[in-house]
Each structure stands twice: as structure tokens, then as C-alpha cells.
Assembly symmetry: C2
Homo-oligomer: 322 residues x 2
């Protein structure tokens, strides 16, 4: 098992790189854009293949590394289903799992800091984002923050984990690297409230200045990288509605890049081929029968829709490598 906690001193952000073995698949949580070179160097040095990059929520204090990591490694980018960030290719919800070779994170929806805040449980470790910090909790005064929701996330979800569960937050500013659920129950001053109303009162009166990076980070994190727009401008992207209309055409193959679990949860696209990303690179190898001519788009990458009212999948056409 490989577990690395990495620190960005500029934003006080902790990033986590995990894998089940050297030579195997890896997953990164809360990467910071300016540190992407270091992450990728470490991934190479540890002989890993980065297949998933996960944010616990849309950060306001640093620009996420999700876009750069996706562009440089073709990893899947993962956030909660509430996210407004574009180009997140896997949207998860309470009860889902985020799997890579040899390990699985259990997805806990823990809103409050933002409405897209998630925590990820990995055995006896929980990655708590900005929901539960070491001797603190994430502020709730912007980005649809809600102290009432956060109280519920804390007291009715995270603090119900076993006391010995190790708490790995997205930030620390005081020099701590880890805590436990038991410690936070006992010693976190924000959790010393007697009622939800007392917590709401406490959080509504913190009077904190906005994060320095907020005006830069939030818009940047809504557009995780720039390539989606570039692809659209080239006419290679299309909406789910447009894609549905293409079904059955002999010159179009719809390839569903989602994982098995996503298809089971959100539904199979009739007539589509299934080639879970990133394994599709092997399926679409030069000698494979599905290879298209450069002028005829052969695949559609699909992600689940952000809300129940939208069509169940969105597509963008892409030329496959080779």
C-alpha cells in the first residue's frame, strides 16, 4: 500500500496520492495546480499509473490540478454530482465507490462548507476535505455553504465513524498532519456545541475575510482546464440531446466510457459500445477493428448528468489517438 500526504505551503493544502502497490494504478485527492509537476514526478518514481484525480469540493483557495492531470495523464476526473465544474468525467454521490486497482474509496456526501463537499472513506482513513479540519471545520459563508447542513454532515456522518479512524483533511494551517475521529469529537472546539442552532450561530459569526485566491480560484475551478472549450470550438463536442439524435447512424459509433457501476446506476445508452476509460486506449489500439479514419469521429466520451432533470448522459465527440 502506498500513501503519500503532500503539502502545498502557499494554500496550506494537503494532497493525497494513494495506490495499492508499486507498478499499479494510483488515485490523487485534492491536487493543486502549481504542484502538478511534483505529483507526476512522484507518480513516475513510484512506478504508478495515475487513473483518477478527485476533488473533495470546488476549492476557493487554490486552483485545482484536476485539469492539468487529466490533460497530462488522461486520468478520470472525479467530483460530487452537485459540482458545477465542467469536464468532471465521473460524478459521484453518497454510497458510491471510487475504485482503482486494489482499492476503493467509499463516498460520503458531507455538504456544509459548500454544497458539493464530499468526504472519502478508505478503510481506517477518511479524507474530509474542508468539512472536518484538525481542531476546526470549514467555513460555511460562501459557495452555497450551509452551517446547518455541515452540522448534519459532521455529527450524523463523520463523527459516527469509529473513533480510531484517521482524519486527513484538505487543509491545515497550524502544522498538524493527521488526527482521529475520536480526538476531534473530544477536542475540536467547533464541535463543542450543544445544538444545531448553537453551531449555526457560531459559524454565522466567524466574520472571516474571503480567501485571497477566491476570485481567481473559483472561476478557474469551474473550468477545469481549457480543452473542453477548444474541443467544442472545433465541432467535436455535442450535447446529449444532439447525441441521442445520432443514434443508429451507420457512420457514428457511440462509445460509453463510463465504469460498470456508473452504467448500472445511471442507465445504459442504447446501441452504445462500452469501453471503460482509461482502458479504452487498449481497445482502440491501432490494430483494433473500431479504429476510425481521422475525418470520421469514432467515439463519444460520456459522463453522467449533473441533475435528475437533465438527460442521463452527455457526450462529446473525440478523435481517438491512433
Amino acid at each position: 500500500m502506498i500513501f503519500r500526504q503532500l503539502f502545498d505551503s502557499t494554500s496550506g493544502t494537503y494532497t493525497y496520492l494513494i495506490a495499492s502497490r508499486h507498478g499499479g494504478e494510483a488515485l490523487i485527492i485534492d491536487p493543486v495546480l502549481e504542484r502538478v509537476d511534483r505529483y507526476l514526478q512522484l507518480v513516475r518514481e513510484l512506478d504508478l499509473k495515475l487513473v483518477k484525480a478527485v476533488d473533495t469540493h470546488l476549492h476557493a483557495d487554490h486552483v485545482t490540478g484536476l485539469g492539468a492531470l487529466r490533460d497530462r495523464t488522461h486520468c478520470i476526473t472525479v467530483m460530487g454530482e452537485q459540482t458545477h465544474a465542467d469536464v468532471v468525467s465521473m460524478r459521484v454521490a453518497e454510497g458510491d465507490g471510487i475504485e482503482i486497482e486494489g482499492l476503493r474509496l467509499d463516498v460520503l456526501y458531507t455538504p456544509g462548507h459548500t454544497d458539493d463537499s464530499y468526504s472519502y472513506l478508505w478503510g481506517d482513513r477518511v479524507f474530509t476535505g474542508d468539512t472536518l479540519l484538525i481542531r476546526g471545520t470549514g467555513r460555511t459563508d460562501f459557495q452555497n455553504g450551509d452551517p446547518r447542513a455541515q452540522y448534519e454532515s459532521l455529527f450524523n456522518k463523520l463523527l459516527k465513524l469509529p473513533d480510531e479512524t484517521m482524519v486527513y483533511p484538505a487543509h491545515d494551517y497550524k502544522g498538524d498532519t493527521v488526527s482521529t475521529i475520536g480526538e476531534e469529537k473530544q477536542f475540536n472546539p467547533r464541535l463543542k456545541v450543544k445544538s444545531i442552532d448553537e453551531y449555526v450561530e457560531l459559524m454565522n459569526n466567524l466574520n472571516l475575510p474571503n480567501p485571497k485566491m477566491m476570485d481567481v480560484a473559483v472561476p478557474a475551478n469551474m473550468h477545469v482546464g481549457l480543452y473542453q472549450d477548444a474541443i467544442a470550438k472545433k465541432g467535436w463536442a455535442l450535447s446529449a440531446t444532439d447525441a441521442i439524435a445520432l443514434r443508429g447512424r451507420s457512420d457514428v459509433a457511440i462509445v460509453d466510457l463510463r465504469e460498470k457501476g456508473e452504467r448500472e446506476k445511471h442507465g445504459v445508452i442504447p446501441g452504445s459500445l462500452h469501453a471503460p476509460y482509461p482502458r479504452c486506449r487498449n481497445i482502440f489500439a491501432p490494430a483494433a477493428c473500431c479504429r476510425s479514419s481521422p475525418r470520421r469521429p469514432a467515439s463519444a466520451s460520456c459522463s453522467t448528468a449533473p441533475s435528475a432533470s437533465a438527460p442521463p448522459w452527455r457526450c462529446r465527440r473525440r478523435r481517438m489517438p491512433g
Copy 2:
């Protein structure tokens, strides 16, 4: 097992708090003066008793917390036998062990960054001080630093540990928290030399500015706290030579506070009582037979001498509590 890595962002120092169990004895490595309150808060919260505070070497970039921790917890302060810091109560050398309840650090003498640089091996973890950093090594251009000695410490001692041994250094400035011996062998650019002469050439041409804190930290760390001088001024301290002259007097009891291993290594003081510190607090409880009157010093705390040519023990008289 309790293991906490704590970070001082001002100096980029990692401090380690370790213990075998909640409620048991704890040991701290490379504490920073300004963080002592936080360490002690954590010690209380984890229900620990701090019994030893250890520095890997005399630091030039921050003031050690050893003095403050000793004053506030009565812990034993530990450094290598070469140290010039006063008031270090246990001096260790290659092959020694630093023991607390339920765990032992094996002492490795790894000079080069300074002539008093030590590493401490704890099972599959090694605390390398400034000798081996993550993808770096400690500079060798002051405080009796010696690149030739450091090469030997690295290549003939630390890098001979098993590849999977986790490396926990005293500093990191780039956001890493841990590495392994195997990784450092492969990827540490300072270790990519073909000979000791090449390493010496490399280290002698780094042309680094002195640490900002050096002029403050080095003198401060030579005097670990102020209480030794204060005790001497009150006439409560005496030299080993003076103490030897007092042996046999009916109004003086010499109490040897060293651990069993120290007595075995450095020799027993004839006629002394043995009450290993900090357990002597129990032995000298108010009801105990050894209790003295406030005006008649009843005990002498002893530490081993810094060199073979000095008398084998030094004493200072102290009034015992109670």
C-alpha cells in the same frame, strides 16, 4: 502505536511525537521552541506523558524546544555525545538505544551535516535529521560539517537500511512528508555521485547563504533553556570534581538519575543511590524516607560526560519537589 508528524512552517521543520499507546510514555524528536504549546496540548489530548525530548543535532535554523519541554514536563533531554549544548541530560552514541515504555529507537551516528548529527531507527521508520532529506542532503558547510563524513553516513549507514524503510527527515521545503530508503537511493540527485570525491566536490560548491536564524539559533541551542545558569548562581550546581569530594559525607546523598543502560556503559558512581529519572519523582514522594529538609539538598542529577577525558559523570545539586 501513536505517530504524529508535526510541521513548523516558519523553519520547514518536521517534529515527531511517538508513543506505544494512549496513556503511556511519549518521546518527541526535533521540537521547535515556538510550537511547544501545541506539542504539550497534543500530549495532554492524547493522554501521554512526555518523558524524552530528542534532537537529531544542534539546529542552526530554529531554536530547539528541548529546554522548554524539559522545564515544563521534566522530560529527559537527549542528544548525541558530541553535543556542545548544555543541559542535555542523556548523551547517546552509535549502537545505543533510546527507550520509553513500549518502544526503542536505535541510535545511528551519522555525522556530516554537523559533527553531532544522529539518526534514529524505529522499526521500519528512520528519523534522519538533516543527514538525509527527501531528494536532498543536509548542507555540510558549517558547524563542523564534513561532506566526506556525510558520504560515509549516507552510503555506508543509512542507505544500507532496507529499501522499504520510511525516511522521516527533520526538514522539507517542497511539500513532501515521507520517502523511503529505496526511493532516495534511486531518485535523490545528491546521491547520484560515483565517488566520495565527487560528493565532496558537489557539497563544497553549493554556495548557499547561511540560514536566516543561524546567529540566533546556534547560540540559543548551545544553552538549552536558562535554568542551568540560574541553578548554578544559587549555588545548587557543582562540578563532577567537587561532587567526588563530597562522597561519603553523612549530610550528602548522591543520587544517580541515569538509566540502567547509561550506568552500565559509563560506570556506576560509588556510594550513589540509583533513581532513574523521571521515576525518581515517585521515589522521592513526600512520604519517602529520603525526603530532605528544604535547606539541605538531597539529590544530585547526573549526566554522562561529553568526552572520555572528562570525569565519567557530572552533578548538580537540586532540591527535590516536596
